[in-house]
Amino acid sequence: MTRLRAMIIKEMWALLRDPKSRIVLIVPPLIQLLVFTFATTLDVKNVAIGVLDRSNGVHARELVQRIAASPQFRGIVVLPSHQAMEEAIDEQRVIAALVIESDFDQKIARGEGASVGLVLDGRRSNAAQILAGYVSRIAGEYGAQLSPAVAMRTGEAQVTHWYNPSLDFMWFTLPSLVAIIVSVAGIAITSQSVARERELGTFDQLMVSPLRVHEILIGMMVPPMLVGIFNGTLFLLVATLAFGVPFTGSFALFILSIFLFQLALIGLGLLVSSASMTQQQAFLGSFIVTIPLILLSGYAAPIDNMPDWLQILTYADPIRYFLVIVQGLFLKGMPAAIVFQHLWPLAVIAAISLSAAAWLFRARME
């Protein structure tokens, strides 16, 4: 027990001794939290849209007015000709252009269905698609207002968004960031541990000390675990107090989940560390492990959109489960029974990765 304590204290010193690395431990996660929070929005706002109005009628002008008034658009760029439109889109002065043909007003006056064209810049196809959704909605509403009888006959859909009624993007970003930043820091810190000893030549000293292998490994696991729980709790406070994201679940479940999640990550980090000869290799190795874990977790893009065989691969990704848990605990008031459904795969991954790390560590001791 005293040996283990000494090992843990030594590892904590190794992590916190150097002032530069101390700063690196705290500042990057906070910067990441702030930049990610504000930058990672798939909302489309403040964009410029071009208008090529060939009808110059009352209804056309009203439609353009309504688009201009919507908060998603920063302004309207009037385009006098088709060529002007081509240039404006090519040079990315506008992301889309609305084309209103000359018979638009007459068709509406006659009570026929009218149509407008929307040219989108496919270089930013995602933003363009979202924007096309806004334009269709505005046009649809105006059309329904012009012919209420038809609108009634075709019915409508009532849309409700649960857990996040106004679809505030930060309510998605901040809980997810707890998972992302904790995993980046967790793997990065753990991967340095064994590699550092090897590079500095102190690994052999560790081997000839009376410490047993499991004591060395546990000693190396404690500091990243503490850092992870500290960061997770800090982000929880920032998200709820500074950004007003609701936390509807249980704090005890949150800590328990972080604990199991960190175990899985630390196992991966130790695997990388045992495989590396230098700190640089360990850093790059952790990078190469972390990026696919994040991209396949469902944070960057929905898992449903991936090809089926890749979806199967995501079941091995610990972030996948933790992401569901944090989103659930923050917004969905997720009860313990459901949390456990996502926790046991984490426990399995942790058991596998930790045993693999211990095995590799022993195998490379000679």
């Binding site: 990441q32 909302d43 889109i89 649809g140 019915g155 409508e156 640089q280 396949l296 959109n305 991936m306």
Partner: protein, 386 residues
């Protein structure tokens, strides 16, 4: 061989060229020997291209939803079929809301659609009750998509329904017909893959350079090198040229893979691509050298390089996230990110062609950044000598 240089006169033209060559040969040998170069310049690009080409797709497909059918009518059954056959949804049909509610909380479905009782009667009498679309708001982007597409399925079903019954004037008031230039299939891969090439070039230019040079500072071999008659400009050139070439080579390989394996169009010229790539590598390399000269520690250099280059390229370049949608301080910050000027130029060369009014200003700004970073490098390295 450097022994000879040390004793020889330091300012002869011929020996200067030989020194530079020798330094580059040394750098090249180091690049070849070092496994991290292999990891960054080969393994990472392949991994990123693969992930952005296959895994990360913003194109919705088979999103799991539930369909709660509370009406026994034929019309409700036909509408259910429309949902089942939609390529955008993977539908589970149920009779009550209770299981759907539970599945939402579990995360097993992303939303559900309720076809209310009496729906069929309403359709027949020309006053259909509204269907309900409920989404999981924890993922706002997907929620928006489900709301729009689920309603779209209903609308096109309704239009068809009215047509078969011969109801006149059923067309909706104003229809928006879309045309997408450069990427008619709206494949997110088309903009994600050029973006991942930008990330690869950032990694080679900044991360790899920062790491390798920081290691030399850490081990003290840098001081040894600076004690030789090597001039500052030669020294920096010897560091820059090999990584510059490595960056361009990697860009070329990525471009070939993008076009051959991922079916990306390449509508611009190779000259324009080279111009853009070279212009970007200058600030990237300058930043990498600057980081290594100021930190002189591998771990810190790697963290700083991640924060100063990888993350901004990923987040603030307009690669995935629209800069215009960000709050103004973040938008202001994005102007200081070189990748912000690379991304539009790169996307344009791939998808649109050589649109010089986009390419040239961006290239000019990148060159400006490059000059700035190299100036900082000179100062940071010089200070170390005294």
């Amino acid at each position: 061989m450097s022994e000879g240089d040390k004793t020889g006169p330091p300012v002869l033209q011929g020996s200067s060229r030989r020194r530079l060559l020798a330094l580059m040969v040394k750098e090249y040998a180091q690049i070849r020997r070092d496994p991290s170069t292999f990891l960054i310049a080969f393994a990472m690009p392949m991994l990123l291209l693969f992930l952005f080409g296959y895994a990360i797709s913003l194109d919705p497909r088979a999103t799991r939803i539930a369909l709660v059918v509370q009406d026994e009518s034929a019309a409700a059954a036909r509408l259910s079929q429309a949902y089942v056959h939609s390529p955008y949804f993977h539908v589970k049909i149920m009779r009550t809301v209770q299981p759907a509610r539970r599945m939402m909380q579990q995360g097993a479905i992303r939303g559900f659609v309720v076809i209310p009782p009496e729906f069929g009667k309403g359709v027949a009498s020309g006053r259909p009750a509204p269907i309900q679309i409920v989404t999981d708001g924890t993922q706002p982007n997907q929620a928006n998509f489900i709301a729009a597409y689920a309603d779209g399925v209903r609308q096109s079903w309704m239009a068809q329904e009215m047509e078969t019954r011969g109801v006149r004037g059923g067309a909706p008031g104003i229809d928006v017909s879309q045309r997408v230039w450069f990427n008619p299939g709206l494949q997110s891969r088309f903009f994600l893959v050029p973006g991942s090439i930008a990330i690869v070039m950032t990694m080679i230019g900044t991360l790899l350079t920062a790491l390798v040079v920081a290691r030399e500072w850490e081990r003290g071999t840098m001081e040894a090198l600076l004690a030789t008659p090597v001039r500052m400009s030669e020294f920096i050139a010897s560091k820059v040229v090999p990584y510059f070439l490595l960056g361009l080579a990697s860009m070329a390989v990525c471009t070939i893979i993008a076009v051959v394996a991922f079916d990306l169009p390449f509508r611009g010229s190779i000259f324009a691509l080279l111009l853009i790539g070279s212009a970007f590598l200058l600030p990237a390399l300058g930043l990498g050298l600057f980081i290594s000269a100021t930190t002189r520690n591998q771990f810190v250099a790697s963290q700083v390089a991640l924060l100063a280059s990888f993350l901004p390229t990923f987040l603030l370049s307009g690669f995935i996230f629209e800069i215009a949608s960000m709050p103004w301080p973040i938008q202001a910050l994005s102007y200081a990110v070189p990748a912000r000027y690379l991304i539009p130029a790169l996307q344009t060369v791939f998808m649109a062609g050589d649109v010089w009014p986009i390419i040239l200003p961006n290239v000019a700004i990148l060159l400006g950044f490059g000059a700035g970073f190299f100036l900082l490098c000179f100062r940071a390295t010089k200070r170390s000598l005294d």
